[in-house]
């Protein structure tokens, strides 16, 4: 009998269908390890780089001693990282899709495909859109981002098919690629870039590179305009150098000095208005300002800016020690909001949660991140850093960045390394 079968042979935890039942369970909680259920319960909300990793590591490393439930609405998860490479034609759509089957089969994670819509922090239970609720000893929220209403005047979710964000991978990504392919000859693609902080700092600019790569082949007289509220952006020198080399004259960026911070859109007319001046565009990719995924606010653990402050050493919410927050949703300090960061934070969190619930060893936390970006064929760059937990924040300790003028072989090797990283991190999340 395999290890996974043994795990599955254990009594599965049941759903607590009512708040009353949840309260009964919680009242016995003075010592988590002597719960009537026998096993401490962890509920993870969100099955991306943070949540899937945390669920996997807690279930795997506790060898069945912790009951892990993962709540994620999507049955097939498409990674935001590498979705730009799909837009650029470097990846097939199916190659960035993943299922949760192995988490259930190999590690005994209870995968619930539903939306978490509420958190009762006193009762320690999570309400689901489908009507049920899940009791927890520790709750891990890794909900990613949502968009701030009104941040780009004229745009809201009802307009996302006319002006896609494509900043949560899925149908939006496929829609944007189809719109780019359908652009008229010599047409204009416009990106409204987000203000800081936002998911994947190099992401909008890697996307520009991928759109330029596609248009250079299929529509070489097309124009690309970035309307950007930020003075500067991630890997700026590397991207601008790459655009000059690969796509000369194709990309124009309107920064805040030329009104990039005063933008509105008119989806019906396909117009972008910059500092009062309207321009007609053919594709408009609006990436609005962002905040933590809605469940974090519903749990009442977000700050005024809409992010969830955490304790760096354990990723626990500053507002509730029974809740941990991972990835993009967390207000943590110096780490960029990236899949790599979320995966790194998840392992620190998993260790802390296991330690608290089962008494397993707790080691000093450490965090790291690397972000690879593709500028053109075989032209990859990267930026990375290591971090430590201070009382105040996750603080950067060391870092590196690719340099302009690097040889073609090094850039190709960097790209190939990113392919290896993708295979590695997705195995670390889903296998």
């Amino acid at each position: 009998m395999s290890k996974s079968n043994r795990k599955n042979g254990l009594n599965r935890r049941h759903f607590l269908a009512s708040a009353a039942a949840a309260t009964t369970a919680v009242s016995a909680l003075s010592a988590p390890t002597v719960l009537a259920e026998g096993r401490p319960r962890v509920v993870v909300v969100g099955g991306g780089a943070g949540g899937a990793t945390a669920a996997r590591y807690i279930a795997k490393d506790s060898e069945g001693a912790v009951d892990v439930t993962l709540v994620e609405p999507s049955r097939a998860y498409y990674t935001c990282f590498f979705s730009n490479l799909y837009i650029g034609g470097f990846r097939e759509w199916v190659s960035i899709g993943h299922s949760y089957g192995a988490l259930a089969a190999n590690h005994g994670v209870n995968v619930v495909h539903d939306w978490a819509v509420s958190v009762d922090r006193d009762a320690r239970s999570v309400g689901l859109a489908g009507g049920g609720s899940l009791a927890y000893d520790r709750l891990i929220l890794s909900p990613g981002i949502d968009f701030r209403a009104g941040s780009v005047p004229g745009w809201d979710l009802s307009q996302q098919n006319r002006m896609p964000h494509a900043y949560k991978a899925g149908s939006q990504t496929q829609l944007l690629r189809a719109q780019i392919e359908a652009m008229p000859e010599g047409g204009t693609y416009c990106m409204v870039a987000p203000p800081n902080p936002f998911r994947c700092p190099p992401g909008p600019y890697e996307r520009i590179s991928m759109v330029a790569h596609v248009l250079k082949q299929s529509n070489p007289t097309a124009k690309i305009i970035i309307v950007d509220p930020k003075e500067k952006f991630s890997k700026q020198g590397l991207f601008e150098d790459g655009w000059q080399r690969h796509y000369p004259g194709m990309v124009e960026r309107i920064g805040p000095d030329f009104g990039g911070d005063k933008v509105e859109v008119r989806p019906e007319a396909m117009e972008v208005v910059v500092d009062g001046e309207a321009m007609k565009v053919d594709v408009c990719n609006v990436i609005p300002a962002q905040q933590a995924g809605g469940i974090a606010a519903a749990a009442g653990i977000t700050n005024e800016a809409g992010w969830a402050p955490i304790v760096p050493a354990t990723m626990q919410s500053r507002a509730d020690e029974n809740i941990h927050v991972l990835g993009d949703a967390a207000h943590q300090g110096d780490m960029p909001k990236s899949g790599f960061s979320a995966n790194s934070q998840a392992k620190v969190c998993a260790m802390a949660v296991r330690g608290a619930l089962t008494g397993s060893s707790v080691f000093p936390p450490r965090f790291s991140n690397t972000c690879w970006s593709l500028i053109g064929t075989d032209d990859g760059v990267k930026v990375g850093a290591s971090y430590e937990a201070t009382d105040e924040k996750i603080a950067k300790t060391d870092g590196f960045i690719s340099q302009t003028g690097e040889g073609a072989e090094l850039r190709k090797a960097t790209y190939e390394e990113s392919l290896g990283w993708y295979a590695g991190i997705t195995a670390d999340m889903f296998s």
Partner: protein
């Protein structure tokens, strides 16, 4: 008499992270080669058809291989299998070395190492045996491959008096304190620390753009990470990650990854 100092860097087709690390030590490999030449150890080597210049070149080119492979008297498996009697060997056939599934299947399919098959493999390992775990992108020059294989041929067949095996990367090469190699790693701590590695390196040993690091001999693992830590091997991510690893932490990781495939 000196070995050509540029040989080991110039034959590389592309610069994988591992290969870039190697090229940095080309000078060291050449120095080591010339040192051994001075001792006369190469005199027993050349096989039929290989002149002594070619043999010297082949030996110097082996500098790219010897971080993972040993050959000669007492050669043992290290990161890669030993290469004594590799000519005539069925691919993936040594019972006491843990091959990739791809290599075992290639052998089961009838691949036998000979001049032509080794030449094709060395030219482009990942095309010739897809999913091989060998972290090497290939040796481009046909002359270089011929020189290397001619030298290697001397370790197959009758080698009743072989020269001693060259070590894989040695502590001395990096000025590494022997006490560091003696540290017993804490596997439980290593398992936690490994989380920082497995975002990129796969625990199943797959090698696709990023090298496999599972199942390595403990010493080789420690030497490699210490080399990154002290800037003797060059790769920005690896230098950053190892920069804050203590000697005990490196030993812990070595202990963990040594057995990671048995106990994932």
């Amino acid at each position: 008499m000196t070995a050509p100092s540029t040989a080991s860097a110039n034959g590389l087709r592309s610069t994988s992270p591992a290969a870039r690390g190697r090229s940095r030590t080309a000078g060291l490999a050449a120095c080591l080669a010339s040192g051994l030449l001075a001792l006369g150890l190469l005199l027993v080597l050349p096989a039929a058809g290989a002149g002594s210049d070619d043999a010297g070149r082949g030996k110097a080119l082996f500098g790219q291989c010897k971080r993972c492979h040993q050959v000669g008297g007492g050669a043992a498996h290290r990161i890669g299998p030993h290469l004594n009697d590799v000519f005539g060997r069925t691919a993936g056939s040594l019972a006491d070395y843990r091959y990739s599934q791809a290599m075992r299947e290639a052998g089961a399919g009838g691949l036998i190492w000979a001049g032509a098959t080794l030449d094709a493999f060395l030219s482009d390992p990942h095309t010739f045996v897809p999913h091989t775990r060998m972290s090497f992108d290939g040796m481009e020059g046909a002359d270089d491959r011929a020189a290397l294989l001619a030298w290697l041929r001397g370790f197959s067949g009758d080698h009743s008096d072989p020269s001693p095996a060259e070590p894989t990367a040695t502590p001395e090469e990096y000025g590494l304190d022997p006490h560091i190699l003696a540290i017993q790693g804490d596997r439980e701590y290593g398992a936690y620390l490994a989380g920082e590695c497995t975002t990129c390196h796969r625990t199943d040993g797959a090698d696709e753009g990023i090298p496999s690091i599972t199942g390595w001999p403990l010493d080789d693992f420690v030497i490699a990470l210490q080399a990154y830590k002290h800037g003797k091997r060059v790769h920005p991510v690896m230098q950053m990650v190892t920069g804050r690893l203590s000697d005990e932490e490196i030993a812990a990781l070595a202990a963990h990854f040594h057995r990671a495939e048995d106990d994932p």
